[in-house]
Every structure is written in structure tokens, then in C-alpha cells.
Amino acid sequence: MRRGVMFAGAAVVLAACMTAGLMVGAAGLPLKGVVLALADRLPFVSAHSGLTSLETGVLFELRLPRVLLGAMVGGLLAVAGAGYQGVFRNPLADPYLLGAAAGAGLTVTLVIVAVGDGAAVPLAAFCGAAGGVLLAYGLGHTATRGGGTATLVLAGVAVTSFLTAVQTFLQQLKVEELQRVYAWILGDVGGGWEQVVMCAPYAVVAAAILLLHGRLLDVLSVGDDEASSLGVRAGRVRLVVLVAASLATAAAVSAGGLIGFVGVVVPHAVRRLAGGSYRVVLPLSLLAGGAFLVTADLIARTVLAPAELPIGVVTAFVGAPFFVTILRATRKVET
């Protein structure tokens, strides 16, 4: 069936990007060695990879966590973006719409200013992102009883400007910390196994909830009145998806910083290539988002090697032309 083919294709692309991410770097690793070394770690499989112990160390301690984290962060941002787009019935909604980015930016700045870089940063980012969304949701909900989506977006705008203002003020007070805050904002998926382990549970739960709501998001796409007339409690579905997407965003932000572009562009590209049903858009965004960010990270750490570009710069730099290409290739007549 066509859907199955698309999912398989996206999975193959993701696997290929991840393999490339494992092979390429300051020390190039051979494909065969990488595959055998990975196979060797599987239970009941024993294979001799032919990699030196240094190469094995690079593979398992540097590259593998980095590639996994990249795939996870990219997938989460893209699937969260698709979820937000479904909830707000707007293809331009992004995971940072409700103040997640501003919340995380503020708490991370606070932590860096107060105690300096360290283990507290990811936790601060997670709490800040979740807190920003909660604040926007609370505001939007009290402003109109029941909370219309337009009010919610406006509350997100207000929360974002307010928190960003506080953050800017703090940065002005502590200019010497500016670069560290800035580096965090531009994103990095080199957090190592610790980050992978911390992010994974949220990633699995949030992604599973989102993927299971594809059919209901399709129902919501015909409007609240009709969704209700079809027996769906629109408000409840919207809330569940919003919570899951915000959890995904918070996990992604805590593990990778404020990486832009992925959450809007990947779902949109998927929609162009595979149609608008959320039952397709959500899973394909998860896979394609992962592939996209792993590739962006690969470029970030190779083009100026040994220096590293911020991954947020690469996502926009590579993503924008890529997006234009897709728009042109799937050009359709606007009606």
C-alpha cells in the first residue's frame, strides 16, 4: 500500500542519514566497520568490526549518542510542529508558538548567569519550555472562557515578548555571559549519552501520543462544530495533543537548544510530498525531522572542521533552499 511504501522510504532515508552521521567526522570510519561494530553490540550477535579501540571509542562515545540525539531532537521538533499545526489548523504554527522557546531561553539565561554552565541547563530548559506554554495556556484560557485558538496564539505572543524582554534585560546585566547563552540558543546535539537517556522517555511518550491522534486531528481539520457533530470532543483532543506536543518540544529544547526551522518546514515539506492527512504527516514528520537534523549536524561539524557551526544556523541555511526546492517541485495552482 502507498502509505506503507512512504513510511518505509522515510525510514530508509533516516537510517542512511544516521549511518552517514556515524561514518563522517574528524576521523572517517568505514561503512563496513560501523555496521559490524553496531551488529556486535546486539544480543547473540558476534562480529569482528576491524575498528581500532580508538575508532570504537569515537563511534560509541561520540558519534552514536550525537546521531541518536540529533534524530530524536529533529523528530520531536517536527512531530510537535505537525501537532501544533493540527491543533491550530494553521500550517505555519510552530512548536515555539506558545512561549516554549522564550520560557526556555529565560530559565537557561538565569541558570547560566547564576551558576554558570553545567548539568542544570537541560533541566532548566525543560522546565522553562513547559512553563512558558503553561503560562500562555493559562492566560489564553482565562481570557476567553473555554479558550479559543486565536486567543491562545495571542497569549503565546504576549508571553513570548514578555519573557524575551526579561531575558534580554538579564543578558544586558551580564554581558560577559552573552556568548554562552547565545551558543545554547543556536543549538547543539553533542550532549552525549546522558542527554540521550534523559530525553528518550519523553520522546517516546510524547511521540506515541501524537502519532495515535492522527485520525482525530483529521477530524478536527473540518472545524470544531463539525467535529462535535461527529461525536468528537474537540476541546479535549486539542488539549491532549497540545500537552503531548509541548512535552515533545520541551524535551527537544532541553536536549538540543532552540533549533529553529525544523518544526515548520519538515511537516510542510511532508505535506507537500505525501498529502495532508495527519495520519501520514505525523509519522513522516517524525522520521523526516530526524533525518533532516542528523544531516544538518553532519554539515555543521564538517564544513568548517575542526571548527563547528551552530546547528541552528545550518538548519536555516540548508533548510531554506531545500524548502524552496520542494515548493517549486510540487508547485500547484493556487485557487
Binding site: 477530524v219 472545524g223 461527529l230 461525536g231 495532508g276
Partner: protein, 258 residues
Amino acid sequence: MTVEITGVGVELGGRPVLRGVTATAREGRWLAVIGPNGAGKSTLLKAVMGLLPCTGLITVAGRPVRDLAPRDRARLLAYAPQSPLLPPDMTVHEYALLGRTPYIPYWGRESARDTETVRAVLDRLDLTGLAARPLERLSGGERQRVVLARALTQEAPVLLLDEPTTALDLGHQQQVLELVDRLRRDDGLTVVSTLHDLTLAAQYADDLLLMSGGTAVAAGGPGEVLTEELVTRHFGARVTIGAGPAGRPVVHLRRPTG
């Protein structure tokens, strides 16, 4: 199934939009709700569907609508709004399949029976050839049929249609109304629709409900409700009402002379 509306009132933003509306849509018949703009026709339909909180009582086959769980309600009543939101890249088949939502569990997916129902409905409405077409590439008449298809896959015995002929040309208006009438007769559906064209309402409906200013001002057969006196009073229009086919009234606008 008979729909009984008893003393129904609706407030929107603190303003009463419907007051004490009482009406009956009898099983297997077509009730057309008519009235000037802002009379509360669409609001009444939404209240019957349970989309708006209301006072009074609305029952379907004797069961109060407000006591029904959303899914059970959706198996009794199907609703097509005046300007339905049609996601541009959703296909006709996917859209019609949405009508099966009340039969699919929250975490579930549609069964073979659901797809079979959709196939049969599309076939019945001559839409099989369009099944794979995205909604944005349909003409006005096709859209209206697709919206009907979605309502029919719901297999609800009561069909609530808000202005099903809006934005359609004469031929397509007739086509859609004939289709609804055929489905009503074949399946024994109860149809409640708002219609702004009084002559069309008189042609197709068995019963008319005239609304004005949020209240029901007249109800009965087309000949009883469409009188020059009532139409002039509530629409503020000068009309002549003649006899049409099968004794059903025909409303002509009369231009003031002099």
C-alpha cells in the same frame, strides 16, 4: 425518527437569539426552517445538534439530545453546516470516511465495514470517480454532494442541513434538493434544513417553520405558512404568492411601482 423541539431558548454572548421555539420534525418528513436573515434558523439547527447550550427540551425519538454521549448523538443526527470547512488536500474518500467517526473507538481505526459504507455512499451519489480527488479541486455542486456523502456515511436517521443550496446555480440547487429528497424517501430519513429560497422550500418540504426575531411565528404545510400577509410582515418584502405544481405555493417578488 421524530425530532421534538419544545420551548427552546439560546443565548449567545448574553443576547437571546432563540426564545421559546417549539416545533416538530416528524419521522420520514422534510421540515424546512425559513425566515429572514438573523431570525435564528442556523442557531436552531445547531441547538438541535447539541452544538450550543440551550434551555428547553430537544428530543430525538423521545430521548433528550443533551443526555446523549457525543458518539451516540452523532449516530442519530448528522449535520452539514452552511459553509463547511473543506481541508484543501483531503481527498473525497478521506472526507467521506470522517462520517464514520462515531463508529470508531478513540484509539481505533476504521474497519472494513466503514470503508465499505463509504464506498457504497460514494457510489450512490455518483462520486466514485472523484474518490481520489482533493477537495480543493471540486466544483461547487460536487462539494455539496461530497458534504452530503459525509453526512450519509454517518448513517444517522436524522439529517440536519444548513442552507444546502448556498452558492449553487439553479441546476445544481435542484440536483442537490432532488438528491436529498430521494435519500429521504429511500431511507426514511427525517430531514431538517434551513432554506432561504421560499419557493424551493415550498417545493420540497412537507412542513415549514417560519422564524422571525428568534421565535417561531408560524408552522404547518407550505400553503398555510407561505401567505402574502406572513411573508410581507416578516421579510419586509412585497410578494405575490401563486399556485405552483401540486398545489404548492410559488413566491414572486413584486417590484413596487410608481
